[in-house]
């Protein structure tokens, strides 16, 4: 095994750093959209209209059953081409649609975990359904959801790597390019790995902070 080449990492760092920002961008946009989508789907699932409940359940079933790459292909080749979207936009749509299905289940589980007694107490006091959801149920649901939500967010961050397959120059795609062009795959890929680990660690720390913030005072 030849010796480790630090200089190659130094030289490629600007390119990798910029690509990492693309990854972060993809992640942020997709997280927001997926969460919104998940919230809508979760509320649909709790609706009194059967059609809405079914649609929501169907969406979750289908989009959790498909590989993320296939969903991205749909977003890029089908939706993106038809609506003339940029690869980045298609990527965000694909990633959000895929992640939204998981967020929906996480949010739903969180809302269900809030004990029935809380719903009943709100009802007995005469609070309207929307008021009790907003002030009583969702705040408590958030506390329960945090671990699953954050671990799913971490998965989303890692799945941004798939965007390289539809031509977006994010970190993994750039790393592959550089690994091949510099003939130093070990150094480049390891560097990319370290960057990802740093990013996921940020998410893990955020999870700790959120859990502490939402902890019930005993």
């Amino acid at each position: 095994m030849s010796s480790w080449d630090w200089s190659i990492i130094q030289r490629c760092w600007p390119l990798m750093r910029d690509a990492a920002w693309v990854s972060i961008n993809l992640f942020a946009w997709s997280l927001v959209l997926a969460t919104g989508l998940g919230l809508v789907l979760a509320l649909m699932r709790m609706s009194s209209f059967r059609a809405l409940r079914w649609l929501s359940a169907l969406y979750v079933l289908v989009f959790r059953g498909l590989p993320a790459l296939v969903i991205l292909f749909f977003a890029y080749f089908w939706v993106g081409r038809n609506l003339n979207l940029s690869p980045f936009q298609s990527g965000v749509i694909g990633l959000s649609v895929a992640a939204g299905a998981y967020k929906a289940e996480i949010i739903r589980a969180g809302l269900l975990a809030v004990g029935r007694g809380q719903y009943e107490a709100s009802e007995a006091l005469g609070l309207s359904k929307s008021h009790s959801l907003r002030r009583i149920i969702i705040p408590q649901g958030i506390r329960v959801m945090i671990p699953n939500y954050m671990s799913n967010a971490t998965l989303l961050l890692k799945s941004t790597s798939l965007a390289s397959v539809i031509g977006i120059t994010e970190l993994t795609g750039r790393a592959r390019q550089l690994a091949n062009s510099t003939y130093k795959p070990i150094e480049i890929l390891t560097a990319a790995g370290v960057i990802y680990l740093a990013l996921t660690t940020v998410l893990t720390v955020s999870q700790e902070i959120l859990e502490r913030r939402f902890r019930l005072k005993t």
Partner: protein, 218 residues
């Protein structure tokens, strides 16, 4: 969108079906073995083993699968000549270690979830550790770990689609080729989607079946 085209594409895409299945099964086997080893290391009284296992788990859960696959395909051969795999086995190596990182958590949580009270009762009755692990703890752990274990397995199955990126001729790659060669998007993707949905549904049914077999009699 034409049905005839779909019928024409089904056999083309299904040529990759067995590759997908073999990728999945090999990865399942290896990941279970490695995951079990990691889990046992993680709960070992020897601190070094715990750290190594924890470190490996943290590492491989913190970086994207695609990066791991690139590493297996591009970087391993650089480390040592003998590590030059053909794409299929590179994919299996990558998938196995990635899945193992998650399975180790599933297995570990199953083992520690068995209540302490059971172990205390067993010890009070004079059973040896080997005996009660075998007859009391492990049977119950299996029941608890089924959902997360199968959940991970389903993920593995979906992630076999990434092998396409390192040129393994499984279903997603073949669909991708149809898109570039025939300029048709909806037909190949829908066919691909249906096949994956069928596979994941099968696995979900297997999960329910296993849960039923291991359910506690009430």
């Amino acid at each position: 969108m034409s049905i005839e085209l779909i019928q024409e594409y089904v056999p083309v895409i299904l040529r990759g079906f067995w590759i997908t299945v073999r990728l999945f099964l090999w990865s399942l086997v290896f990941s279970t073995v490695i995951g079990l080893a990691l889990a046992l290391m993680r709960i070992s009284p020897v601190a070094v083993l715990r750290w190594i296992s924890g470190g490996i788990g943290w590492l491989f859960r913190g970086i994207p699968l695609l990066l791991i696959l690139f590493y297996a395909f591009f970087a391993l051969p650089e480390i040592h000549q003998s590590l030059m795999f053909d794409p299929f086995w590179a994919a299996v190596v990558g998938l196995s270690i990635w899945t193992a990182a998650y399975q180790s958590e599933a297995i570990r949580s199953g083992i520690i979830a068995v209540e302490k009270g059971q172990i205390e009762a067993s010890e009070a009755l004079g059973m040896t550790k080997r005996y009660y692990m075998r007859r009391i703890v492990i049977p119950q752990s299996i029941r608890i770990m089924i959902p997360p274990f199968i959940g991970n397995a389903i993920n593995t199955m979906k992630q076999t689609s990434l092998a396409a990126v390192i040129t393994v001729p499984e279903m997603t790659l073949l669909a991708r080729q149809i898109i570039s060669e025939d300029f048709k998007v909806a037909e190949p993707l829908l066919t691909l989607a249906f096949i994956y949905l069928a596979l994941t549904t099968l696995l979900l049914m297997a999960q329910q079946g296993l849960e039923r077999i291991f359910r506690l009699k009430v």
